[in-house]
């Protein structure tokens, strides 16, 4: 690494998260052990090569081996290797489990650009602005081929696989601008699928936000503010006519009542019993799967009548928005089916347009929001997803 200095690269690559520091410690430990091992081999090699070079009249010894030595040099490396593995577990654990309250940034890879969407609706291409000291969860997917969203300064990267949602998280602690690379070969423009992540101090970040937002940042997840992912999702929820079935009208006479499909309020994060006697947690992966392929895991008690939405109908980006909206849907948040006109971007605060003030008439909010139950009475043949 010393060689790197003066050859264009810094002595040690930038570290802009705590994770990067933890990572580097493990790396340094492995590097120290392997360097020691390598030097040991080299020392032996060099010594033997000189000491036992052929001499006139010399006589080699007949040594067949030594179980004792072999045992030693099997056991010691094995112990070190296992120590590497054990020490790396907390690191992998750290990177795979975002803090529960971290706002989610949605990243879609596409030949050949990165599209980022902040929870407050700000969208960027190949640029990512983050606030120093604030943890963000990053959920990555792809619209076409496999990409990989990597930020070397954060010592973090994750595959963007089409059809899958994978998450990681960062808490940048150092102001600066760092590379974003696509690390998984994705075709002609692979090397142009690069970007910049800007870590900004709180003031700068707020100022930057001001330039992009028309609304004051609300508490994340509290309500879909104009322009947020959930807000777009709500518009799609009407446009795709999800609301026709997934509504809160409990009227057995109406064709568009909640008899046909579960009310989605409070669904996110709850435990859903599915056909076949199992149950799953309604996480983003499940929600996504249920839209793309509704028959995969049918909510038990409902008829499997939900149509599947292919990529032609709902792009990955839109799907992320719908999922974000379903996450937002706490108990009592579901708008009336008629309030189809969502507020346009840039409109002043019109809370009514989002259906919050018009509380659902029937029935009153369920006291247990975590349990999405088919509230309607079920007959022998039960209702859909």
């Amino acid at each position: 690494m010393l060689l790197a200095e003066g050859l264009g690269l810094p002595l040690w690559p930038e570290r802009a998260t705590d994770f990067a520091v933890h990572y580097d410690w493990l790396f340094i430990y492995v590097l120290a052990v392997t360097t020691a091992a390598g030097l040991l081999v080299y020392a032996g090699l060099i010594y033997f090569c000189f000491r036992f070079a052929k001499k006139p009249g010399g006589q080699q010894q007949r040594i067949l081996g030594s179980h004792k030595l072999e045992l030693i040099w099997t056991a010691i490396p094995a112990a070190f290797f296992l120590s590497f593995f054990v020490l790396s577990i907390p690191l992998f654990d750290e990177v795979s489990h975002p803090p529960a309250d971290a706002p989610e940034i949605f990243v879609v890879g596409k030949q050949w650009m990165w599209k980022m969407q902040h929870p407050n609706g700000v969208r960027e291409i190949n640029e990512l602005h983050l606030q120093q000291g604030t943890a963000v969860k990053v959920t990555v997917t792809s619209e076409d081929v496999i990409h990989n969203f990597g930020i070397p300064a954060f010592r973090n990267k994750i595959d963007a696989v089409p059809g899958r949602y994978v998450s990681t998280w960062y808490r940048p602690n150092k102001v600066g601008t760092y590379h974003i690379f696509c690390d998984q070969y994705c075709g002609q423009g692979h090397s142009q699928m690069v970007g910049r992540v800007h870590v900004m101090s709180t003031e700068d970040y707020t100022a930057w936000l001001e330039g992009h937002k028309t609304d004051k940042p609300g508490t994340p997840g509290d309500r879909p503010t104009d322009g947020t992912a959930a807000w777009h999702g709500q518009q799609l929820f009407f446009k795709l006519q999800c609301i026709n079935c997934h509504n809160n009208i409990y009227d057995a006479e109406s064709p568009n009542s909640s008899n046909r499909a579960p009310n989605l309020e409070g669904l996110y994060g709850s435990i859903v019993p599915v056909e076949g006697g199992r149950s799953v947690t309604a996480d983003t992966g499940y929600l996504r799967e249920s839209i793309r392929n509704p028959m995969a895991k049918v909510h038990s008690g409902w008829k499997p009548i939900m149509p599947a939405y292919t990529k032609a109908q709902v792009s990955e980006e839109e799907l992320g928005q719908v999922v974000a909206y379903i996450q937002y849907l706490k108990q009592g948040k579901l708008p009336k089916r008629t309030s189809q006109d969502a507020a346009p971007v840039g409109a002043p605060n019109v809370p009514d347009s989002l259906g919050e003030k018009t509380a659902p008439v029937v029935p009153p909010p369920d006291p247990k929001p975590a349990e999405p139950k088919p509230s309607a009475p079920v007959d022998s043949k039960k209702g859909g997803k």
């Binding site: 790197a4 810094p10 080699q60 081996g65 992998f92 990177v95 696989v161 696509c182 690390d183």
Partner: protein
Amino acid sequence: MATSTAATENLTESVLELDYTPQMAPPVTDLDGPPKVHYLNHSFGWLSWLLTVDHKRIGILYLIPLTIFFMCGGIAAGLVRLNLIQPYGAILELDQYNKAFTAHGTIMLFLFLIPVIPGVLGNFFVPMMIGAKDMAFPKLNLASWYVWMAGAMFFIAALLFGGLDTGWTFYPPYSSKYSHTNVLAAGLGVFITGFSSILTGLNIIATVHKMRAPGMTWGRLPLFVWAMYATSIIQILATPVLAMAVCLLATERIFQVGIFDPTLGGDPLLFQHLFWYYSHPAVYIMILPGMGVINEVITCFSRKNIFGYKAVAWSSVGIAVVGFLVWGHHMFLSGQGIYLGLVFSVLTMLVAIPSAVKVFNWTATLYGGQITYEAPMLFVIGFIVLFTIGGLTGLFLGIIGTDIHLHDTYFVIAHFHFTMVGGMMFAWQAGLHFYWPKMTGKMYSDFWSRMAAVIMLVGFSLTFLPQFIAGYHGLPRRYPYYPVEFQMMNILSTAGATIQGFGYLMPAVYLPLSLFFGRNAGANPWRATGLEWQTPSPPTPHNFEELPIVTHAPYEYALPSKYNLESGHAYEVTKGESGGH
């Protein structure tokens, strides 16, 4: 499996004649010139070569196209490296760059590294080392050469007419849907060469099991044979799965149904699982024969028994077996599941152990020897130096925590080349230089061959050491354009590659020249033990005029024999730890 009966023999008490030939046959000595009739001159003409079933001639048949393919792959590598001296591409367009690195990767892997040692040295020397007259199935052996050539021609044609830009990994959905290049033709080429690889492996396994000379017990097999045996097991067990993965990929590409493409209902990870189920063991297909060659050469030039015969033999088999269980370490970041990743990571740590044991045993073999430094030995020392780095850096990639940052960077490139070029390529050069006198009966230039070894080592290190640093700084692989701060590292690499390329050209000059101007090598120029050295150089058509009878474990250099001409004095026998050989 038969265990070593040699282990029970007490070799240390009595001094034994080290003569593998039966007593009635006069031993072949260096003083004899080449035999009147040998495998090269007992028949002439194109057809006598193209229809031969002689394993030695088939070995030569492999050698020639392999050399050409290596040069093709090398030219592609040269283009890639030249292009990278400027951050925005020096000579190639984006598409051309992608095709160039794909051509480099696929040719080197499928058409060079996988077949080179099994095809040339395996074919030529496995039967000779175990005292057989030929492979178990000579016609199948020739058939597998034809199959391989057919597949290789398909592959080369696919690369020449339109090219291929998927990388050697063929990941869908890119390869199944988005790539507009010759994925199908190249896939067919891989499929066909894979079939050849299976047949060769089958042949070698059957040969080792059924064709050993009397007395050639499993415990007396030369370690090269053990390594080839382990390689062949991997070949027959892993290659069919690759063939099937390629078939499924082709099906998806032709019929547009979803097996791997998520928009059609498939799963891209399924391909990665099938692909790496083959391709991870495939790197052991590439390196194990190389390790086998190292055993032969290092014992010969240090005049020693191998240190810990059993440990080295079983570590080959251990690598082959555990190597099947670690494919998921290529997919830590692909969302395959956290727990799956942990299991694959710990298994990867396990598979590293036998490789470490081998390196330690080789080094220990030097202890107490009488080492000389002819070209094959220099290549072996280069191998140990480079493979140690290659193996140790592999740990960084196998540890689930450290792989997060290093995945798909130049660190991976450097690691892979340290094992495959620093390891396998040096082992191949060692083997080629070691066995060239036996194969051709001629000796090459001592000075130039030593120079080549040194130049290759220097060039190689200069090429790939900077790539570790670039990789740790985050430079992703397969980037024709890259951030400007990495330019210096790339220039160093390209400079190294130039030196290295020059190094590879040298044997291509002095080895053929030795055919015309080299002195006669004699039967056993290195004073090596082993049945293959008990035949004249070049060997006679049926290798052994009479059935050889084996009475000893291999590598008994320290015991006096009529081949240890120079050790005229009282031998001193040091007792090894019991059972160590």
